[in-house]
Amino acid sequence: MTTEPSAPDEEERAALRDRISADSLTTRRDYLRIVATVSGGLVVGSTVVAAGVLSRHGDGSAPPLKVADALTPGQAVAFGYPGEDDRALAVKLADGTVVGYSAICTHLACGVLWQQDRGTEGELHCPCHEGVFDVRTGEVTAGPPPRPLPKVIMVEDAQGAVWAIGTARSGESERSGLCRGLRASDPALAGAAGCRADEGAS
């Protein structure tokens, strides 16, 4: 024997059926309103980005930092420069050149690793999405990263110690990055060092 459904249940079912079978629950005018709201949000986002809310590796200046007493060819060292949170790594290449880069991938900020056994002279590799950077220039050679790695300018002193002395942003020349840092810390010295007004101005 079956029991008859109560009247409120039937009403609820009928209302639900009406709602589901309605031609369109969201009208095109509603879509326009939603799209306009998204558009306004993108304007706000773009303004915030241009105003400088995102942190960049190398913002600010710091005195030279000794990162290693010595590096052998193929060896890498991780450090923080210019701030402790600005993760970076320096690599001594086979020909004795010392290069330094931000260790934060320009794609989604994963950690970039030095892999000596990849490529012709080793590669900087981001394992999250298989991003690969040229170890000599920092340019993207594979994967989704949109920008080259920001550089950390490295020098090796007479005793073989490795120092970080400045930074350069993605795609910026080392000279321009040095001038920018020098201008921030000592404008007179930047002028004396021959930095032009347009070098590292932004």
Binding site: T27, R28, R29, Y31, L32, R33, V35, A36, V38, S39, G40, L42, V43, G45, S46, T47, V49, A50, G52, L54, R56, T106, P146, R147, R169, S170, G171, E172, R180, S202
Partner: protein
Amino acid sequence: MSVPEGHYPENYHPGSDQPDLNRPVHERYPQIRATSGYADPRVTRTGPGPGAGTDQQPERSAALSARVALAVTVVIGQLWALTVATDAWMKGSTDTAWWCTGFSVASFLVVVLAWRISRQDR
């Protein structure tokens, strides 16, 4: 089926004044035949005709669809501009980032225009 009292127009009674014409009929207005047609003075409401219930101004509906498509396209352009602005800022090109923001603002104005330009369209 009988028609309830009070549902007839004033001064109206069902059937003809000529009794021999009053065969049993069930319509409300038995005198109005299918042949009464246009210009019959007794026809005061034409009722739903061909196309009843469909969109009466399809060009307005099409225009609204086009506005939605335009707005969505413009927002896709804004997303692209945001990626360019982010890249430019990260590379230190602040001027480019601000130009992208200007493009985004102009795009937003286009979207608002598409939204508000004709509010009665359905």
